[in-house]
């Protein structure tokens, strides 16, 4: 809130490190370089962070231009507190493997659930695939 009290604007956030959560579930971390009136973002030195359990892995992505409508939320990262996390960083391969395992487990449990419900004569309608993560 600079000189416009009562308004919210991303202008003060420029050139700071941010964590951006997208609608498709991805988490991006990067320096916010530019914005516009639609809250389209330009992220610099972006890293896509994948979280599985207590572990996370970073995939460097470079420069991201994110269309504003796909942003769920974003927040500034306190650089001092950034390293102060109980989470453990692992390599990309490892985290991708972990993610795959997790997805598989989820799918299987989902399948079992649907099966059980079918046996009872019930069915849950599939969610819209768009916002599925």
């Amino acid at each position: 809130m600079n000189y416009m009290p009562g308004t919210a604007s991303l202008i003060q956030d420029i050139d700071k490190k941010h964590l951006v959560l997208l609608r498709d579930g991805r988490t991006l971390i990067g320096y916010l370089r530019s914005i516009d009136q639609f809250a389209n973002l330009v992220l610099h030195q972006t890293v896509e962070r994948i979280h599985v359990g207590k572990k996370y892995g970073d995939i460097p992505r470079g420069i991201f231009v994110v269309r504003g409508e796909n942003v769920v939320l974003l927040g500034e990262i306190d650089l001092e507190k950034e390293s102060d996390t109980p989470l453990q960083q692992v390599s990309i391969e490892e985290i991708l493997e972990e993610q795959r395992v997790e997805q598989q487990a989820k799918q299987e449990s989902e399948k079992l659930k649907v099966q059980a419900l079918k046996e009872r004569g019930l069915s849950i309608p599939r969610a819209d695939t768009l916002d599925e993560y």
Partner: protein, 704 residues
């Protein structure tokens, strides 16, 4: 370097007769040659440029000073045209607003060689003298399009139309006059003469320096226009990364790395404003985009930034310590400030534009209310305590007068037919939907019922909007002028009458034979709430009438309200009405509640109506209120007639009988038990029954 004038003379018209061109082409080429290498060209420039280039690599600092000398020359050249441009642009600003912004693009993609008068006159009127090719760009610049930074900018003839030219893009164009600072020539030494010429040609063809842009549009980028070499340095340092790429492109040796030049000037936000002398702003009276208050605040902010930097550079302030670490980071961040201050202002400007409104109370009701409440609270606090006044800065949005824009779709002279362009402001009819009214013949009972309900709903909605209007009159009254007030009062009265008519159903006859309409409304949740809100506005008779109708139909309403339990909202307004009612009305009211015909004297064994009333929370509460009121009237001196009224006595006895009859369990819990009921009952019943009543109804305080 090309002289400004000479470029303008360059015939770029393409619609010349083809057969004539051969001979003319030779002449043109000659002229081009002349301008480039011959008498038309100013030789010293490119030599100087080379010098500067050489020096640039060795001594960045001294080079700057040399540039400043050349700068003034060029600025003079541009200066003449700036003023002209300024005038024309001023016209453009006004007229631009009339354009449909949603189809701005369409206009700009026009073939450039149209006659100025042919295109939509509002854009081109003011710029008739302006070169055609500049036109579209100007509109773009005045309403800048989204920025996209082009890394290694290809060398090409920039087409001035149909492309999104943004300030930033132009910044990256080598040697563009819009290199993010008003002194393009300072960076010219980097490039060869020809390249510069090409680019300048492009620049003349349609671009403007930010100084023109800033000065003319009156936006708050004017600080950028002040002549300051230091600004230059900061900017040049910033510009080095793209410049280096350009150099690589042209095969020239890369310049010194950015950090050295940047170290001199920390590129923290506002750093480019750091050493600006206070620059008197030219407030254009017709820019409604930034409220003067905002400009002032912006200035303040800039000053604050400046003072912060001073404290940072000079003595150590409390904030300086903290801020220095922040600025340290930014200093080390070579990619900082990719988004220029001008661009940030542009985004803010758009955000502020969205806040412009003709009637903020209407457009932004919740925000206004919220801040009014806050202000009241803080004002109250200030009254009580002598604590430090918390300066709560309030956003002041410009109040724009509502302009009726008659939207005219884009037209071209000499074209057949109209453009099929549809935008948000000019929607096209896509489908021909015909409304077919239902025939009355084959309507079944259900349909009729449904229609009736729909009618009731519509009535409720209409009455509700009347109610909202009436409630708003107080505020309007305060805002209006003296002369308008009687008219406002009249309107208000009329609306209240309309509301009442709506509630009771407009009857042709004198009497209101049926409560049906009213009951229908009362069966709907929203209707009940609305009646509760309307009651305070009605006159006593009207309100009494409503009360009567409610009491008359209470069992039915109770039954209908079983799920909603909204009837209770009516208690408060009802009680308020009751306190104004005369005794006769109160008696009739009780009568209605008990559902006795006026002349009946034979009490039924069980009064079902009353029983239903008693078993309902609302009903019982209402009854209590009525009784309480009656008691009050009895106690007051002027109500002697109530005592003598046989009806009242009858009703009371009936009421007490009923109260006694109904088992306690079935009796509802009233909202509140008036304190004078005990004395009321004591008049009509003997002690034994009184005791029973007491315990049953918990009339004595303390038994809870």
């Amino acid at each position: 370097m090309f002289r400004y004038q000479s470029l303008e003379d360059c015939p770029l018209d393409e619609d010349e007769d083809a057969f004539q061109t051969l001979g003319e082409e030779d002449e043109d080429i000659d002229q081009f040659n002349d301008d480039t290498f011959g008498a038309g060209a100013i030789d010293d420039d490119w030599q100087e440029a080379h010098e500067r280039l050489a020096e640039l690599e060795d001594k960045p600092a001294t080079a700057r000073e040399l540039e400043d000398g050349a700068v003034s020359d060029e600025m003079e050249l541009l200066g003449h045209h700036e003023e002209n441009l300024a005038e024309r642009l001023s016209k453009l600003v006004i007229e631009n607003e009339l354009e449909d912004p949603a189809i701005m693009q369409a206009v700009q993609t026009q073939p450039p060689m149209q006659q100025p008068g042919g295109l939509n006159s509002s854009i081109w009127d003011g710029s008739a003298v302006l070169r055609r090719f500049r036109g579209p760009l100007l509109t773009q610049i005045l309403c800048p399009k989204p920025v996209h930074i082009r890394a290694p900018m290809q060398q090409r003839y920039p087409s001035p139309y149909g492309e999104r030219m943004s300030p930033n893009q132009l910044c990256n164009v080598p040697n563009s006059s819009l290199l993010g600072h008003p002194f393009p020539p300072s960076v010219t030494p980097v490039f060869t003469h020809l390249q510069r010429a090409q680019l300048l040609g492009g620049a003349q063809a349609g671009r403007m320096s930010p100084s023109q842009f800033a000065r003319v549009s009156g936006l708050v980028c004017s600080p950028l226009t002040s002549m300051n070499p230091k600004l230059l340095q900061g900017r040049v340092g910033q510009m080095m990364p793209p410049a280096s790429r350009f150099r690589a492109f042209f095969g020239a040796p890369p310049p010194p790395a950015p950090p050295p030049s940047q170290q001199q000037h920390p590129l923290c936000p506002g750093s480019h404003l750091q050493n600006l002398r206070p620059h008197p702003q030219v407030f254009r009276p017709d820019t409604t985009h930034l409220h003067p208050q905002h400009r002032r605040l912006l200035h303040q902010r800039q000053q604050q930034n400046r003072t912060q930097h001073r404290s940072l550079n000079g003595s150590a302030g409390d904030r300086a310590g903290h801020r220095s670490s922040h600025h340290e980071q930014l200093r080390k961040d070579p990619y900082a400030n990719l988004m220029l201050q001008r661009e940030k202002d542009w985004v803010s400007k758009i955000q502020m534009m969205q806040l412009q409104s003709t009637d903020p109370y209407l457009d932004d009701f919740y925000y206004q209310n919220y801040f009014q409440k806050l202000e009241k609270v803080s004002a109250a606090e200030e009254m009580h305590g002598d604590g430090p006044k918390k300066e709560r800065t309030k956003l002041i949005t410009p109040q724009v007068a509502k302009l009726e824009h008659a939207y005219k779709p884009v037209q071209f002279e000499g074209s057949l037919g109209k453009l099929t362009v549809s935008s948000v402001n000019n929607p096209r009819k896509m489908i021909d939907a015909v409304v077919t009214s239902r025939s009355e013949d084959d309507e079944t009972k259900e349909k009729q019922v449904r229609d009736k309900r729909r009618q009731t709903l519509v009535t409720i909605e209409k009455t509700y909007s009347l109610l909202l209007d009436v409630e708003d009159y107080e505020r309007r009254y305060l805002l209006s002028l003296e002369g308008e007030r009687p008219a406002l009062m009249e309107e208000r009265k009329q609306k209240i009458c309309d509301m009442y008519d709506n509630l009771r159903g407009k009857t042709p006859g004198q009497e209101r034979p049926s409560d049906d309409h009213f009951v229908q409304i009362m069966c709907i949740r929203k209707g009940k709430r609305m009646v509760a809100r309307i009651l305070p506005f009605l006159s006593t008779e009207q309100a009494a009438d409503i009360l009567m109708a409610t009491a008359r139909n209470l069992p039915f309403l109770i039954k209908k309200d079983a799920q909603d339990e909204v009837l209770l909202c009516l208690l408060r307004p009802f009680s308020l009405v009751l306190y104004h009612l005369p005794s006769g009305t109160v008696t009739s009211l009780l009568q209605q509640l008990a559902n006795l015909p006026q002349s009946a004297t034979v009490p039924a064994p069980a009064n079902l109506h009353l029983a239903a009333v008693l078993q309902n929370k609302f009903g019982l509460s209402l009854l209590y209120l009525v009784l309480s009121r009656g008691e009050e009237l009895q106690n007051s001196s002027a109500a002697v007639e109530l005592m003598q009224d046989n009806q009242w006595t009858e009703l009371m006895s009936m009421a007490t009988r009923e109260l006694l009859r109904i088992p306690e369990a079935a009796l509802a819990k009233p909202v509140s038990t008036p304190s004078n009921l005990l004395s009321l009952f004591s008049r009509y019943v003997d002690q034994q029954k009184l005791n029973v009543l007491e315990t049953k109804l918990q009339l004595v305080q303390g038994i809870r």
